[in-house]
């Protein structure tokens, strides 16, 4: 069929545009080859695909990205004030010169290219494994592309409590850069780690992260995606949680022509807990998509999704979230909230909050709302002498505070709050 052929051609063109690195160990080559075959079999998505009904994948399918102008930052880098171990990527390439020495107690950090050239490494059980499992029930071709071709990234293993966060900073220096970054993270039983990510990375970014959290482990994941207006990004996080482990993730997105953040969180051990949250503000040519699947595969787990989007000037916000409760995952507590706040007539909010439940002793709920700024609240604030603009900003910040409150460390939340305030101030 013509349609299937077109999809495959698209996949082949993407693979051709991103040659796989050479000189890797056998197991890595096998994983790459399998991912290549997966991608060719599934092909690239088409706008009519159910999974892409709200987001046009065209910008991600092009073999080379559209140019994206650079933004000269007028403020300190995000998380710049905190004591952290910083690793820097420039247009998707790791920069040892700009990075801190990768040494910290309770932590082993290695470069992806070094790890994939090693014959024996624990990463063998992770690289491409969670991604390939995550191709069901829906295909995620850009994650397969990442496994097949991504040459840079870090491999992090937390072996105990870590004294300070690891911060991955992505700089954007070339208007036409096309970055594929792959990280592997393993949190050993009882260990804990805070992982930060910030920056626009490239004109087009394809970032994929596979995360395994062992029993009683904990990962805090805080992201601030860069403010460059024309950048495009697709990110995937595949997270598997063991017994009693904790995963807390928050993503702040400001600007960007296209952002699609896919997360697949599997709760595989009893008593595990996953909180996935996001806030975004967009103006004009801004398309932001959160696609989240939380799978409860063990009894007594808890999950929470909180996503809020503020949209203006024709911006589009998309939320596709799903809680899947497998038959034996009794005593599940699942919660999901998606809300859109539209500041003018032109914006749109599109949501598909799903529940699929195959166990009976569960408590699952979701809520989704969309609307404009509450006129009554605005009236109240203006009647107290607050200017209308300011009142509106206050209400917007209050609206976005719920996902921000999901960040465990209040200092990081506060940093992001001030950035939101500045974003609003710039748009008076």
């Amino acid at each position: 069929m013509a349609e299937a052929a077109r999809r495959q051609e698209g996949a082949a063109a993407l693979l051709a545009a991103h040659p796989a690195p050479a000189g890797e160990a056998g197991w890595a080559r096998e994983a790459r080859e399998a991912a290549r075959a997966r991608l060719l079999a599934m092909g690239v998505p088409a706008p009519r695909d159910e999974y892409w009904r709200f987001t046009d994948p065209a910008g991600l399918i092009r073999p080379s990205p559209q140019d994206a102008a650079l933004l000269t930052p007028d403020e300190k880098p995000v998380f710049g004030d905190f004591d952290r171990l910083q690793l820097v990527f420039v247009d998707g390439v790791f920069s040892p010169e700009l990075s801190d020495p990768p040494e910290m107690t309770g932590l082993v950090i290695q470069r992806l290219d070094e790890v994939l050239a090693t014959d024996i490494h624990w990463a063998r059980d992770l690289f491409g494994q969670l991604e390939s499992r995550g191709q069901e029930p829906v295909a995620r071709p850009f994650a397969a592309l990442n496994t097949a071709c991504a040459a840079t990234g870090v491999v992090i293993r937390a072996t105990g409590p870590t004294p300070k966060p690891v911060s991955l900073r992505y700089l954007h220096r070339s208007t036409s850069s096309d970055a594929l970054i792959r990280h592997l993270v393993r949190v050993d039983p009882g260990a804990s780690l805070t992982l930060m990510e910030s920056g626009p990375a490239a004109a087009r970014l394809n970032l994929c992260m596979e995360v395994e959290i062992g029993a009683g482990g904990r990962l805090d994941h805080v992201r601030a995606q860069g403010r460059d207006h024309e950048r495009q990004a697709i990110t995937h996080a595949f997270v598997r949680l063991g017994q009693g482990s904790v995963y807390k993730s928050f993503t702040l997105t400001m600007n960007g022509r296209l952002t699609r953040n896919e997360q697949l969180v599997e709760l595989t051990g009893p008593g595990a807990s996953a909180h996935v949250a996001g806030a975004c503000v967009g103006d004009g040519d801004f398309h932001h998509d959160d696609t989240v699947l939380v799978i409860h595969d063990a009894p007594g787990c808890e999950s929470r999704q909180v996503f809020k989007k503020v949209l203006r000037n024709g911006a589009t916000g998309v939320f596709q979230g799903k809680i899947l409760v497998r038959p034996d995952a009794q005593n599940t507590d699942g919660y999901q909230l998606s809300q859109g706040l539209m500041l003018d007539e032109d914006s749109q909010f599109l949501a598909k909050p799903e529940l699929e439940i195959h166990a009976d002793d569960v408590k699952c709920s979701h809520g989704s709302t969309v609307g404009g700024v509450d006129e009554t609240a605005l009236f109240y604030l203006t009647s107290r002498g607050i200017a209308r603009n300011e009142a509106e900003n206050l209400l917007i910040l209050a609206f976005l505070d719920e996902p921000l409150a999901e960040i465990a460390d209040e200092r990081y939340a506060e940093d992001l709050r001030t950035r939101l305030q500045r974003w609003l101030a710039r748009r008076r």
Partner: protein, 512 residues
């Protein structure tokens, strides 16, 4: 339903707190699918299978005008190019569309009876047995055995459809005096061709979807209602669908038009005999509401659901859509879905008129191996349009129950409002309950709210009921009825009583 079959209530006795009436009611609704018998009646079939000849034959039998045949054939040719939709959360073996009869009518209908007096008494007995009054009498419908009830009861005009033909329509003269046209669609094609031609396919076009297109090609009977401007229909209208013949699909087509300022309330019920094979039912219902008009459409769907092992049962693929064309028009869908092996049904409202309003109240109960994928679409096109969705899904045994809905607010539909509430209840650890809502809001003056919950039957509530002397099944029935109350209350009184009982019997065998 197994558990109760064994612990049968047929010899249940009145005891303290449970009066004889209740016992009789329970006995009458029976421990098994109550409408599973079939009528021995000689039936004329069109040859098995589907091709242009069959369509010509259906059209000829119904003495349809030429344009209607052409319409059907176009739909058929289109259907040949279409694929069965696979997106719903239902599983079934492939349907052999050639292994079906597309037309079946009782032999006695070779010559169409002129009035109910000429109808084969066997047929009339069938409807009597179903509790459907084909005699024009004052009755309190829905409450069985109430044919002799006092004359204060409400009256309901009935159109009865048996396999592929309409048996008869009651109260026609009285309705005609009010200007209301209520007849089978075949008669409407003969007597009011212009009205039919104007509206047929204007809400659900013949190209709409696989099953609607199939229906457009082969539809047999169904009801036609036209309520003229400013008329409030003097009584409830109702259609009762019965599949009797084996291996026969039923493809009914209903068209209801409420002209400016008119009001009509329409009820629909359906049953089928118990058979081991699956039977296909693919209906299309079109509602048109003009300015200030109001249509209430209520369904109690009780097709044969198949046995505990999932053998047999009706495949119910239905397209229902309302077009609120006029300003301030209003459509209310209420459905109680307890039957069918598979339910695939999304009654929708296109809210085109300014200030128009759509409502959807649904209870879907699945037990044993039943699968239901049902919900609604509310398409807001006009300014200040409003919609409300209340959906209650109950899943027991090994059943799968999915709510699938769309709320779409277009850029021009400023000031619109939607509230959606969908709750699922799980009884047993082998069933599934799923929610798949689509929310699309394209302006900022509108407000959309969606909430959904899934939980199991509350143990505390069950314990309380048990401590008051109710047995496990009664307790579940009571809790579930409470869970569904909002929807049950939206039903016309005629149906509410029956629906409550249905809720209870549909869940039999699901506890203990």
């Amino acid at each position: 339903m197994t558990a109760l079959d064994k612990a049968t209530p047929t010899d249940a006795l009145a005891r303290e707190g449970v009066d004889q009436e209740t016992v009789d009611a329970v006995r009458s609704v029976g421990a098994r699918y109550k409408y599973g018998w079939h009528t021995e009646i000689e039936t004329d079939y069109a040859p098995k299978g589907l091709n242009e000849e069959i369509i010509r034959l259906i059209s000829a039998r119904k003495e349809e005008p030429e344009w209607m045949l052409e319409w059907r054939l176009q739909a058929y040719r289109r259907w040949l190019t279409m694929k069965e939709p696979t997106w719903a959360m239902i599983k079934h073996p492939p349907i052999d569309f050639q292994d079906q009869y597309y037309y079946a009518q009782p032999k006695s209908f070779r010559k169409k009876p002129k009035s109910l007096d000429e109808v084969d008494p066997e047929l009339l007995r069938t409807y009597e047995k179903l509790g459907i009054p084909l005699r024009e009498q004052m009755i309190l419908a829905g409450v069985e055995g109430a044919g002799e009830a006092p004359a204060e009861g409400r009256r309901v005009a009935v159109d009865a459809v048996f396999d592929s033909v309409s048996v008869g329509t009651t109260f026609r003269e009285e309705l005609a005096r009010a200007g209301v046209i209520f007849c089978s669609i075949s008669e409407a094609l003969r007597d009011h061709p212009d009205l039919v031609r104007k509206y047929l396919g204007s809400v659900v076009p013949p190209t709409d979807n696989f099953y609607a297109t199939l229906n457009s090609a082969v539809f047999s009977d169904g009801s036609f209602v036209y309520v003229p401007p400013g008329v409030r229909c003097p009584m409830e209208l109702s259609t009762y669908f019965r599949i009797n013949a084996e291996n026969t699909g039923q493809f009914e087509r209903t068209l209801i038009i409420a002209d400016k300022g008119a009001y009509v309330s329409y009820l629909e019920g359906c049953t089928a005999p118990m058979r081991d094979t699956n039977q296909l039912h693919a209906a299309v219902v079109e509602l048109v509401a003009l300015e200030d008009a109001e249509i209430k459409y209520s369904t109690v769907q009780n097709w044969y659901p198949g046995d505990e092992e999932g053998r047999g049962g009706i495949y119910n693929f239905v397209t229902k859509r309302a077009d609120c064309r006029g300003a301030r028009s209003r459509v209310m869908w209420t459905q109680v879905e307890t039957g069918s092996a598979i339910t695939w049904k999304y009654p929708s409202c296109i809210l085109r008129g300014e200030g128009s309003q759509g409502e959807f109240y649904s209870i879907a109960i699945t037990n044993n191996c039943q699968q239901a994928d049902t919900g609604t679409k509310m398409i807001h096109l006009g300014r200040n349009t409003r919609s409300r969705i209340v959906s209650k899904g109950i899943s027991a045994g090994r059943a799968q129950n999915t709510y699938r809905g769309l709320v779409s607010i277009h850029p021009r539909a400023a000031g619109s409002r939607n509230h959606t509430q969908c709750d699922s209840l799980l009884i047993g650890d082998r069933c599934g309950a799923h929610t798949v809502p689509y929310i699309e809001c394209r302006n900022n003056s509108s407000r959309v709210e969606h909430e959904a919950t899934t939980s199991k039957v509350d143990e505390d509530q069950l314990f309380y009921c048990r401590s008051r002397g109710l047995d496990a099944e009664e307790a579940v029935a009571l809790v579930v009825n409470g869970f569904c109350k909002e929807v049950l209350q939206a039903l016309p009184m005629e149906f509410a009583v029956e629906a409550q009982k249905l809720v209870a019997i549909s869940l039999e065998g699901s506890v203990g």
